[in-house]
Amino acid sequence: MWRNPAVRLAAVCLSLPLLICLLAPLTGHNGHVVNLDSVLAAPSASHWLGCDALGRDVLDRLAEGVRLSLAISLSVVTLGAALGICTGMLAGWYGGWVDALLMRLTDIVLSFPGILLAIALAAMLGPGVENLLLALVAVGWTGFARLSRVQVMSLRHIAWIEALRAAGLGFPAIAIRHLLPNIAAPLLVEASFGVAAVMIGEAGLSFLGIGVQAPDASLGTMIREGTRLMLTNPLLVVWPGLLLFMLVMAINLLGDTLRDHLDVKR
């Protein structure tokens, strides 16, 4: 695996965010503590990456941002995949009106640019992490639904699956034990690109002020706060953006590798 240059580049990209997360606890600062004595302090032995406009330690806030970004994107993709795979498998298995109904629903969600629908939902539901998750899941499940539907449709009439049906196995048992393992490869690839997309989506909503709210630190909110001070303290924008960029790039690289490895056409 290490022979692959893409994997090595991904490891390099991941190392910076990881390093930030590992180093942050060592300095002993809490990124939520406002300290007016150290407003916009330059990097020093105590605050390794300096402080923001409220005197909060940038290193610790970055570490929190990376953790939050990973936590949100992994949960959204997990929930979205669960919802999408259930929908898609039901539609593909039963066909007929179930299929028509579920796929029209998917089509409606897909007739909005993803980021716009997430913005609209998050804005209407109001601020907060739960609503942010809800908005991102509502947009993110469709890819999984379409993929698993097509795959299940092609498997449904294969002899050994029909044999299972004839043996009296119900849909849930067939779906979990037999269909899922056979359609896992493209779903896995979809999930890996999904993580990258959700990461940008979360940070984007937070950047617009309708995602993660103060005092919690998200990479998006940090970029938002930083742009106001860009003339004097450009590093406040550079750091969170660079970390987000590295994370997204690493995940895209791993997704590409996974796709080539599993031989999935996308």
Binding site: R104, D107, I108, V109, S111, F112, P113, G114, I115, L116, L117, I119, A120, L121, A123, M124, L125, G126, A196, I200, A203, G204, F207, L208, G209, I210, G220, I223, G226, T227, M230, L231, P234, V237, V238, P240, G241, L244, F245, V248, M249, N252, L253
Partner: protein, 307 residues
């Protein structure tokens, strides 16, 4: 072919209805009583009642829904609750700026993507190919709300070449167009490379080679026709997607288009305006998808058999 196009057109109708329905229900996602959210809890009872009536909130949901659709069809997209401005009029005012930004970004993306894809395919497996693919990877991974500020810092603040924001000064469109166009260029160049490589493996291209036709002519005449077809389809699909990206890009650069209007409306809790913005952008998106499918049917005879 015409039957296929007609069928595709008819398919769009339920989609449009679905879009309108979802946008209608957006207002009902607001937690609690929408009137409270609009007027605040301290508003006078009479004002609340008046608002309830103007928004038809005093009637059953079905009636509200029918009212909403009737209004849309008659060009009545509601009124801003902040300044009573007609939503549709405000949208058309702002659409021109977004249109300009989108056109320039798309042009920029194509002008970058096609040569990049060509060079990468032509020099397949060589340094130029790797470089083009690294650019494409960077392009899809860089968030536009970070790329924008970084470009402003470099070109406007440090070098002083271009304006920071707004639309009036000359050259103001350059940075937002690059910000919006980069991801697009990255996606398109990847597609161009893959499609060109695939086209070159076809018998037609091998035969052309055997006839002694010059390499340049094969690449640009014979292969390009096939290779640029999926690029064109993807490009048309992106016509709509670019409007989604414009929401963030316009916010970064204070570009007075639909995207910025959406965010302003969200910040002021001007829900009818938010609904209008989302609806208009989604309509453009649906139309772009329709256009992509119809173009593919017209330009690529093979598609007709698949469909």
């Amino acid at each position: 072919m015409y039957r296929l196009i007609l069928a595709r057109l008819l398919q769009t109708l339920p989609t449009l209805l679905g879009v309108v329905t979802l946008v209608f229900f957006l207002l009902h996602l607001v937690p609690g009583d929408p009137v409270d959210a609009l007027l605040g809890e301290t508003a006078l009872a009479a004002d609340r009642e008046a608002m309830r009536q103007t928004l038809h909130l005093d009637q059953p949901l079905m009636v509200q829904y029918v009212h909403y659709i009737q209004g849309l069809l008659h060009g009545d997209w509601g009124k801003s609750i902040i300044d009573q401005h007609d939503v549709l009029a405000r949208l058309t005012e702002r659409a021109a700026a977004t249109f300009r930004l989108a056109v320039v970004s798309l042009l920029l993306a194509v002008l970058m993507a096609v040569p990049l894809g060509y060079i990468a395919a032509r020099r397949h497996g060589q340094t130029a190919d790797t470089a083009a693919m690294v650019f494409s990877l960077l392009g899809v991974s860089i968030p536009n709300f970070w790329l924008g500020p970084m470009l402003i810092f470099l070109f406007s603040v440090t070098l002083g070449w271009l304006p920071v924001s707004g639309m009036e000064q000359p050259g103001a469109i350059i940075l937002p167009a690059i910000t919006l166009g980069t991801a697009l260029a990255a996606i398109l160049s990847r597609m161009a490379r893959a499609a060109w490589l695939e086209a070159m493996t076809l018998d037609a291209c091998r035969t052309a080679r055997a006839y002694g036709i010059s390499e340049l002519r094969i690449w640009w005449r014979h292969a390009a026709r096939l290779a640029l077809l999926p690029v064109l389809t993807l490009f048309t699909l992106q016509l709509g997607a670019v409007l989604g990206g414009a929401v963030i890009t316009e916010t970064v650069f204070d570009w007075p288009g639909l995207g910025l209007l959406t965010i302003e409306a969200i910040q002021r809790r001007d829900y009818p305006m938010v609904q209008g913005c989302v609806l208009l952008i989604a309509l453009c998106y649906v139309l772009a998808n329709l256009l992509a499918d119809v173009l593919a049917l017209i330009l690529d005879p093979r598609q007709r058999h698949v469909a």
